[in-house]
């Protein structure tokens, strides 16, 4: 059975079509990564699915319940952790979780126990009695996620759960999410980190400007882009232009972030030829490698811009 079914969602803000006919499904017990740059419509989609926003048209069901017809029943079934850790920084961690438990109408005697259980699970036992203002960014996120789990939701929505976290906290959160999914929770997460989608998601839906532009597994998306690519980095930034001219003889050259150049259709033969040609032209290089496409390449190819290009734009 599909835990989430979305059909043809449209939501406009004035002239902007935040959602321009999005359809997707998430089979029960799987992870869907909703990938896209800022302003692509990821958050809007999550807000519709979590009953915070009514779409202009289209339909959606979560755990078999119609989001538009019975939002109250959807709210009892889901957990949501939004883009900003929505925890009360003047309450303690434990108080935050107990408040959420109360508002989920858990039986009184279970509220404190459930809060303690979640604090333990998220490694917040010692911090549980402290005011959230004193927490680090990673701890706030973990508490926010714990809040989303108070009601043991069958379907969990996470909107950019690791944005702004340091790499170690991000890794920790990924492990927690993997445990949840292993326990059977269906997860829909949005991210602009391709690495995150690569690691966590069973299936990926790429959206851009309110439309689904690709979907599949991480591998199938990479295959769509094509085989390996050749990546070259010139020793001196001024020589990058020269390197580009040389490489253009072998195929289409695209710019990667950090001054790297990429040539489609990488092969061992190409590596040899390119190395020779670059040496002949007097271009010094620090790196020349054959690389399997990453989701970044997929994104670049699909949208014509990098995933994090528009950071801060929305």
């Amino acid at each position: 059975m599909d835990a989430v079914v979305v059909q043809d969602l449209v939501k406009t803000y004035g002239p902007t079509r935040a959602l321009d006919g999005v359809s997707l499904t998430v089979p029960e017990g799987t992870v869907l990564g909703l990938l896209g740059p800022n302003g692509a419509g990821k958050t809007t989609a999550v807000r519709v699915l979590t009953t915070l926003l009514r779409p202009d048209s289209g339909s959606a069901t979560v755990a078999g319940i119609d989001v538009l017809k019975d939002p109250a029943a959807v709210r009892r079934t889901i957990g949501l952790a939004g883009q900003y850790a929505a925890v009360d920084d003047k309450l303690t961690g434990a108080e935050n979780l107990r408040l959420v438990g109360k508002l989920y109408h858990l039986p009184k005697q279970q509220i404190a126990a459930r809060a303690d259980e979640l604090l333990a699970r998220f490694d917040l036992v010692e911090a549980g009695g402290r005011v959230v203002k004193t927490y680090s960014g990673g701890m706030r996120r973990r508490l926010d996620l714990a809040g989303a789990l108070v009601n043991k939701p069958r379907v969990l929505f996470l909107d950019e759960p690791t944005t702004g976290l340091d790499p170690r906290s991000r890794l920790g959160l990924w492990e927690v999410l993997e445990d949840l999914v292993a326990d059977g929770t269906t997860l829909l997460l949005t991210t602009q980190y391709l690495e995150e989608a690569d690691r966590l998601a069973d299936r990926i839906v790429v959206i851009d400007r309110g439309r689904v532009i690709a979907e599949g597994t991480s591998d199938s998306l990479k295959d769509e882009v094509g085989g390996s690519v050749l990546v070259v980095r010139a020793a001196d930034p001024p020589q990058t232009e020269q390197a580009r001219e040389v490489l253009a003889r072998f195929g289409e050259v695209t710019d990667l972030t950090g001054g790297e150049l990429q040539v489609q259709g990488g092969s061992v033969d190409l590596v040899r030829k390119a190395a020779t040609a670059l040496a002949k032209a007097g271009v010094e290089i620090t790196d020349l490698a054959l690389r399997r496409p990453t989701l970044d390449d997929v994104f670049l190819q699909l949208t014509g811009h990098a995933a994090e290009d528009e950071e801060g734009a929305a």
Partner: protein, 252 residues
């Protein structure tokens, strides 16, 4: 209904806990009216002569009403804060009563306003205020002041939900209260003002409320100002709670 009530009380408890965690905010929010009391009582008190009444008895009802008006602005600021931090989104994604966020907010702010008024009563008594009409009328006076504050919290809630940022809520919530509370019978008799200002002062809810509180404390004709004040406060509560609830529902 019981779920709606318990949800509202849960939110109230959360709001009151926040106030307790920041005693300095509560402290400083009472310091300002105390300074007003001292300034008016001792700077202007000698210059303003009220026939048949000591200035402190005249002044304190005005201070009570102004203090609650200013205190009501906290409602909008707190709602704008919750809105900008995503707390309201979290609440809206929970299976709780839709009314609970606003109901809880107005309950906790009523408690906060009552506390402030009681502090002002103590300060007033310390600088010479006396309740000349007995305990029952004194309680009625305090209740009317609290109702005035409660009505104004709904205006503030509507402003806070409309502007959505804490800074704007602060400014938009405050600025109009200065002319509204000063151009009234709160600090000086209305009949000493120029004609056009008298017309304004008499047409606001502040003057009849101050007059009624004053009459309940000091004596004098009570029924007419009390009735006008109650009409105002019921109307303000009805109109602005409707507007605030509508604004809350349209948040997306």
């Amino acid at each position: 209904m019981t779920a709606a009530l318990s949800d509202a009380l849960a939110v109230t408890g959360r709001n009151l806990r926040r106030i307790r965690r920041e005693p300095e905010v509560l402290f400083f929010s009472t310091v300002q009216p105390i300074i007003f009391v001292l300034l008016f009582r001792y700077v202007f008190g000698g210059a303003i002569k009220i026939p048949g009444l000591s200035y402190v008895d005249f002044l304190m009802p005005g201070i009570f009403v102004q203090t609650t008006a200013f205190a009501s602005t906290g409602t909008g600021v707190a709602l704008a804060d919750d809105l900008s931090k995503g707390i309201i989104d979290r609440f809206r994604s929970l299976p709780m009563a839709r009314s609970a966020v606003l109901a809880g907010r107005s309950l906790s702010d009523l408690a906060r306003i009552l506390f402030t008024v009681l502090v002002m009563v103590v300060v007033g008594v310390a600088v010479g205020l006396r309740f000349h009409q007995g305990l029952a009328k004194a309680v009625a006076a305090i209740a009317l002041v609290a109702f005035f504050g409660f009505a104004f919290t709904w205006i503030s809630a509507w402003i806070g939900l409309s502007v959505k940022t804490v800074e704007a809520a602060n400014l938009a919530g405050f600025v109009w209260l200065f002319p509204l509370t000063f151009a009234s019978s709160a600090f000086a008799p209305v009949n000493t003002m120029p004609g056009w200002l008298q017309a304004f002062a008499k047409a606001t809810p502040v003057t009849p409320t101050v007059d009624a509180v004053r009459a309940l404390i000091n004596g004098g004709p009570t029924a007419r100002p009390l009735l006008i004040s109650l009409c105002w406060l019921v109307a303000i509560t009805a109109v602005f709670s409707t507007l605030a609830v509508r604004k809350y529902r349209s948040i997306s």
